[in-house]
C-alpha cells in the first residue's frame, strides 16, 4: 500500500498568526522514505510533460524543486525573495492579504522558449505562484504547469491560476 503522505504533515495552530492552521512539512522531510515517495509521485505526475527546467519558489519550494530537477536531469532556477539575487534580474510585486510582496528571478535563469514547471511546497491563495508565472513568462519561458506538495483548497488559489495545469500530492 502506498504511504499516506498526509500523516507526515504536522498541523500547528496560530502560525504565523492567530487563526492560521499551519501545515508543517518537517516530519515528511525527516523521513527518508516519505520524502522519496513524495518526489516519486511528483515525477509520476509529470512523466508525460516535456520539461526543460524546474523553477522552485524560495525557500521550501527549493526542497522539492531541486531534487525533482535532478531526477528529471534538467536545470533548476530560483524564484527568490527581494534583494537576494546579485545579477541582472526582474521583479514582480503582488498583493498579500495585508500589504504586498516581491519575488525575483535572474534574467538569464530562463532561456526563451524553455518549457517550465513551477514547484512549491504549498498552494495557498496563489499570489506567489501567479507572480512566478509572470516572471517566467516575462523571460520567455513557457509555463507547462505548477505542482505543489500541499494544496489548501479552501483558499481557492487555483482561481488566480486560470487555465493552468495545477497538481498537488496532498489536499486540505
Amino acid at each position: 500500500m502506498p504511504l499516506d503522505l498526509k500523516q507526515f504533515i504536522r498541523s500547528v495552530q496560530d502560525f504565523p498568526q492567530a487563526g492560521i492552521l499551519f501545515r508543517d512539512i518537517t516530519p515528511l522531510l525527516g523521513n527518508g522514505e516519505a520524502f522519496q515517495s513524495a518526489l516519486s509521485r511528483f515525477q509520476e505526475l509529470l512523466k508525460d510533460e516535456k520539461i526543460d527546467k524546474v523553477v522552485g519558489i524560495e525557500s521550501r519550494g527549493f526542497i522539492f524543486g531541486a531534487p525533482l530537477a535532478e531526477r528529471l536531469g534538467v536545470g533548476f532556477a530560483m524564484a527568490r525573495k527581494a534583494g537576494k539575487l546579485p545579477a541582472d534580474k526582474i521583479s514582480v510585486e503582488y498583493d498579500l492579504e495585508y500589504g504586498t510582496n516581491i519575488i525575483e528571478m535572474h534574467s538569464d535563469s530562463i532561456t526563451k522558449g524553455e518549457r517550465i514547471f513551477i514547484i512549491d511546497d504549498v498552494l495557498a491563495t496563489g499570489g506567489t505562484a501567479n507572480a512566478t508565472i509572470t516572471l517566467v513568462e516575462q523571460l520567455g519561458g513557457e509555463v507547462l504547469g505548477l505542482a505543489f506538495l500541499i494544496e489548501l483548497k479552501f483558499l481557492e488559489g487555483r482561481k488566480l491560476l486560470p487555465g493552468r495545469a495545477v497538481y498537488n500530492l496532498i489536499e486540505y
Copy 2:
C-alpha cells in the same frame, strides 16, 4: 573529462555590498548536467559516511542538501532563519561582521544519536556553519562533517570548525 564546475559559477562584483565578490550558483543550477555532476561529487565524497540525515542551511543549502538526502535515501532537516519555524524549536545567535544573526531548528527535526551531515552552498566565515553544528549537537545529533559547493578559503571559515570533516567541490 569531468566537468569543470567552476566554469558554472558567476562572479558578481559588489554584492551584497561594496568590495564583496559574490559567487553566484545560478549558471550551475541552470545546467542539468552540471547540477547532477555536483550532486554526484557530493555523493562520492560522502560514500563511506554512515549518514542518518542531511541538514540543509536556508536557503541555498536546501538546493543541494535536499537532493543529496534523496539520493542517499535518508531524511532531511532544515536549519532556518529566525521566525520561520512554527513548532517547538531551538535557536542559536551568532556574530556577523556587523551585528548578529539567528538560526533555528525544530526540536524534533533531529533524533538523539542520529548521524548528521550539514550541507550549504558556500563556506565563508564559518559562522552559520558553526551555529548549525551547535543546533544539531544540542538536539543530540552527531555531526559527521560538513560539505559545501564552494569554499572561500581566504575567509578561513575552517578555523571556526576545528576538528570537523569539511569538504568542498570548488575553492577560491
